[in-house]
Subunit: 105 residues, 2 copies
């Protein structure tokens, strides 16, 4: 599955490095105020906290995730997405790599 | 030092993951055919091979590098850059993190 490019983006060239590099992303913005990031989670079990609400969209690979306050692990593969409330968190388990677009707000 | 954003880019949302994640980059392109990538090298000693000629520009952190066929390690810090011939290679040593823009062609 080949994902379409994100066009017309302003790219912050400094990466966001989380969890000793288990997650690396680059922040993107657009003239209309839209903000996204593109990133990858490498094999790991991690917990992410959200500030703004987020939608995580898988572009390659996959993960299992569990939203705060829920028991169930769900799978997210290419073309699928999941939403996380603001000021919340989610657990994520990645066996190979999880390439994603994070949509904010 | 805060680097200016790269504007008007088309972003490939799938990361390039090298050396088990010691280097992660995202590929960018522009309508005029310009290609760059933005990436980060985490603490490691690595050897990169080039296809096209490249200019590596440091946006944060730093590295030491040694071009193929040379003996000397040189330092590259924020705002500095170094050029690598096509079909060549360079060694790189990173103690913290090396955030870069790679300019191709």
């Amino acid at each position: 599955m080949t994902f379409q490019q994100l066009d017309g983006a302003s790219v912050n060239p400094q990466a966001n490095v989380y969890f000793d590099g288990k997650c690396v992303s680059h922040s993107l913005s657009w003239p209309d105020g839209t903000k996204k990031s593109v990133g990858v989670v490498l094999p790991a079990s991690l917990t992410f906290n959200t500030g703004a609400p987020e939608v995580m969209e898988c572009v390659a690979g996959g993960c299992e995730y569990r939203l705060a306050g829920t028991q169930e692990w769900r799978r997210c593969g290419p073309g699928e997405r999941f939403a996380i409330d603001g000021n919340s968190s989610f657990d994520i388990r990645v066996a190979e790599a999880f390439h994603y677009i994070c949509h904010f707000g």
